[in-house]
């Protein structure tokens, strides 16, 4: 198959998969797109929203649309690392001999739903860390790979903070994108009511295999990125650092720590998936602008003034992108140079 054919196939598969999810999930087109972008980019996605907005349903529907294993972990304060990774248990064979056998935890699945991840203790949260970053877990000195593709979708509730353990910055940085699930509009709410109150549930078909997902991941990495687009991504990430010489005023005033290089990777990888999903063979500046908020909102740590002022990180990132775009456009103006 030619490259052009592969791209067209990906575009088609992307649209089909999204359509399957949208059979269940009403609205949230952007959230669905970003979840798929995170999956095809090989990253993990954190969904944040109040209860009842369909976060868990979205992930479940996605897993049902893919020919992939799925496991759901409901994080609670008493959840232990072994409960998600697995543990060695003593097994007795037919001869009566006993030996240790590794009993895989729920993490050993292609798609893992870490529901209300901020309710688990940091110890358990960090157990998830290795799996998310290395796609493998180590139990009893033995490293065990997780199945590929491995995709963690975590949810957390931003309002019920009592008895929760906010994710540390290191673990937040492992998520490629952080999506904010917003309340549906009234038309969407009506559609949700209609769909969920019928006697016959909606059937979701499996439209994509794990192998296809892996193949598309390879294809996505071949999407070329122009130097000025890459520079734009670097500029955005650097502009989130208050110590940077050319940082905008909002960053200097409200930001304590800026985004890590993973932020730039997330921008470029997400941009590649977005470009290819739109049938484009290159990443554009618009791709980066569209993905700036989900890729950076959890990587920018506000300082005390930012917290006290109630600064929204999405607004902050938007202002940073605007300032970088203005400075970049100005510096690239042919008349000026």
């Amino acid at each position: 198959m030619t490259d052009d054919g592969r791209v067209r196939e990906f575009v088609s598969a992307f649209e089909v998969l999204r359509a399957e999810v949208e059979k269940v999930i009403v609205g949230h087109r952007e959230i669905i797109n970003h979840v798929l972008i995170g999956m095809f980019a090989g990253g993990h996605v954190l969904l944040e929203g109040v209860p009842g907005l369909g976060k868990t349903l979205l992930v479940k529907t996605l897993s049902e649309s893919l020919e992939l294993s799925f496991s759901r972990i409901q994080f609670t304060p008493d959840l232990m690392p072994a409960d998600i990774i697995g543990t060695n248990i003593i097994v007795e064979d037919a001869d009566g001999r006993k030996y240790f056998q590794f009993q895989q935890g729920p993490l050993f699945a292609h798609i893992v739903l870490a529901d209300e991840i901020n309710r688990a203790t940091p110890k358990t949260q960090s157990a998830l860390l290795e799996g998310m970053q290395e796609a493998s877990v180590t139990v009893g000195g033995i490293s065990r790979p997780l199945p590929a593709p491995f995709f963690v979708l975590a949810t957390q509730n931003p309002i019920e903070m009592e008895g929760t353990y906010p994710l540390p910055e290191a673990q937040l940085d492992r998520f490629l994108l952080k999506l904010r699930v917003r309340y549906p509009a009234i038309e969407e709410l009506n559609a949700i009511i209609d769909r969920t109150t019928q006697s016959r549930p909606v059937a979701v078909e499996r439209v994509m295999s794990g192998a296809q997902v892996l193949a598309y991941r390879e294809l996505i990495r071949e999407v070329p990125v122009a130097a000025h687009v890459r520079d734009f991504a670097s500029g955005i990430v650097m502009a989130t650092h208050p110590q940077w010489a050319d940082a905008p005023e909002v960053t200097r005033r409200f930001v304590r720590y800026g985004a890590s290089p993973r932020g730039a990777q997330a921008l470029i990888l997400g941009g590649k998936v977005r470009a290819l999903a739109e049938g484009r063979y290159n990443v554009s500046v618009d791709d980066l602008k569209a993905l700036a908020a989900p890729a950076l909102r959890h990587r920018v740590i506000l300082n005390f003034e930012g917290e006290a002022e109630g600064i929204d990180t999405d607004t902050l990132v938007s202002q940073i992108v605007e300032s970088v775009e203005a400075s970049t456009a100005q510096s690239r103006e042919p008349f000026v140079r």
């Binding site: 071949e222 999407v223 070329p224 122009a226 130097a227 484009r280 063979y281 290159n282 042919p334 008349f335």
Partner: protein, 483 residues
């Protein structure tokens, strides 16, 4: 892999548009900056004549041309042009990415599809002007010099200030006045009124009271009261004449060679002059190192001085003989002897001219007679036995001496009146009051003027007076003689 021809064509077209805009942009800048000296040239239209307009036009043209050339020479990279095309045509960075990746050796498999896609999209584009015109900042201010240049071109030449100083002579003032009265301009007619208004009120309202000792009656507001002791008291202050005199004095100062050597001490005695010359001649040198010529000149001068009453001519003669014999040391010794005698005579003369008491006039001619003759009287000879300034030492029976006849006659005919000054109160303005009495203070004028003239001739002969002042001194005494 090379980029498609359509992409190259697009980029070249955009580059050409950018170049054209740059030419416009920088030509406008050059035009603006050239307009500033052009305005200056047009302001000098008077001295330069019609050439100023031509030069200004040429300057504007050259500025615009240079700016345009500068803009045309600026390079536009392909990447910049491609990005500009992407933005203008909404190609979402396809052209820039295709151009960049089409030439890279590590291009991915999707690059070919990207180039083909970009080429297909570019071929569907309608060519249009995509580079907007950007006016330079100077363009906002361009109307100012242009309007100024236009006005200066159409208006008559500006009058320029003359490098000569204004003529303050009265004749020129008369001419100006005539010219002013002859002109019909309103503002020029109003000038004299304005000058009157500008007189300082203190000067206008001040009244100078005639002092009691003044012999001439002055009226209120008469400025001559200020100058009553000067030659200006009888006339209005004339600044022009003052300037004229100043010019004459300045011309005199330019004649440096005719000016007296004010550094020299002409009041010094003959002995001091000769002593200084001898000291300068010796200068710490041994007798054999002294210039015989200069020593001879000094001895000759001492001999000339000795002929006017000195008693050192013999010593000078010995010195001259020793000098002719080549004995410089002996000549120096003889000169030293002559100097000693000269000093002795100087001291004797000075002792006779010391300060004397204020009442020596009352003491009659005894004292004068004693000081007469050769003038060699000592200081103790000023007063007779039992006389002096101390109370009770005079010939008067009064402990403080007798009052003068003048004071005893009218004690109020003379005096000093004054008033405290404004300000720091550290002095008084004083004025002699009283009228001149019929006292016999006059000497026989014609009797003494001859003596003074003789002394003057003597002083001039001794060259104690600079040569340039000889004629003036003689004129002065001649004027005294005529009275």
């Amino acid at each position: 892999m090379t980029s498609g021809a359509a992409l190259d064509r697009l980029v070249r077209g955009v580059s050409a548009q950018v170049r054209r805009r740059r030419v416009e942009h920088h030509a406008l800048r050059g035009f603006f900056w050239a307009s500033l000296p052009a305005v200056v040239l047009l302001a000098l239209k008077g001295p330069l004549g019609p050439r100023a307009v031509l030069a200004a036009g040429a300057l504007l043209l050259a500025g615009a041309l240079l700016g345009g050339v500068w803009g045309a020479l600026k390079h536009t990279s392909r990447a910049d042009a491609a990005r500009l095309a992407d933005r203008a045509f909404g190609l979402e960075d396809r052209v820039a990415t295709a151009l960049e990746w089409g030439e890279r050796p590590d291009r991915t498999s999707l690059v070919a599809a990207l180039v083909a896609d970009a080429t297909a999209r570019v071929e569907r584009l309608e060519p249009r002007q995509i580079v907007r015109r950007i006016l330079p900042r100077e363009a906002r201010f361009l109307p100012v010099p242009l309007v100024a240049a236009l006005a200066l071109t159409l208006a008559p030449a500006l009058p320029l200030p003359s490098p000569r100083l204004p003529d303050f002579t009265p004749g020129s003032q008369e001419e100006d006045k005539d010219a002013r009265t002859g002109s019909g301009l309103l503002e020029e007619r109003s000038k004299p009124e304005a000058r009157e208004r500008l007189r300082p009120p203190a000067f206008e309202e001040r009244e100078f009271q005639a002092r009691s000792g003044s012999s001439t009656a002055s009226t209120a507001g008469d400025l001559s009261a200020v100058f009553k002791d000067t030659s200006l008291s009888s006339q209005r202050p004339d600044f022009n004449s003052f300037l004229k005199r100043g010019d004459e004095r300045l011309k005199l100062l330019e004649q440096v060679d005719r000016l007296p050597d004010l550094a020299s001490d002409f009041t010094a005695s003959q002995y001091k002059m000769v002593f200084r010359k001898s000291k300068a001649l010796a200068g710490g040198l041994r007798p054999d190192q002294i210039s015989p010529q200069k020593l001879k000149e000094l001895l000759e001068e001492m001999e000339r001085l000795g002929r006017k009453g000195g008693n050192w001519s013999g010593d000078v003669g010995e010195g001259m003989e020793a000098l002719e014999g080549g004995q410089t040391d002996k000549a120096m010794e003889a000169m030293q002897k002559a100097l000693d005698k000269m000093r002795a005579q100087e001291e004797a003369q000075r002792s006779g001219k010391g300060l004397r008491g204020g009442r020596d006039t009352d003491r009659g001619g005894a004292g004068r007679d004693r000081r007469g003759g050769d003038g060699s009287g000592g200081e103790g000879e000023d007063f007779g036995e039992g006389e002096g300034l101390l109370p009770g030492k005079g010939r008067s029976t009064s402990p403080k001496g007798e009052a003068s006849r003048r004071l005893s006659a009218t004690p109020y005919d003379v005096g000093v009146e004054g008033e405290s000054r404004r300000g720091r109160k550290d002095g008084y303005d004083t004025n002699m009051t009283g009228r001149g009495g019929p006292m016999a203070s006059r000497l026989h004028y014609l009797g003494v003027i001859g003596q003074y003239r003789k002394l003057m001739e003597d002083a001039i002969t001794r060259e104690a007076v600079p040569r340039d002042y000889h004629s003036q001194i003689k004129d002065y005494f001649q004027a005294l003689d005529e009275r």
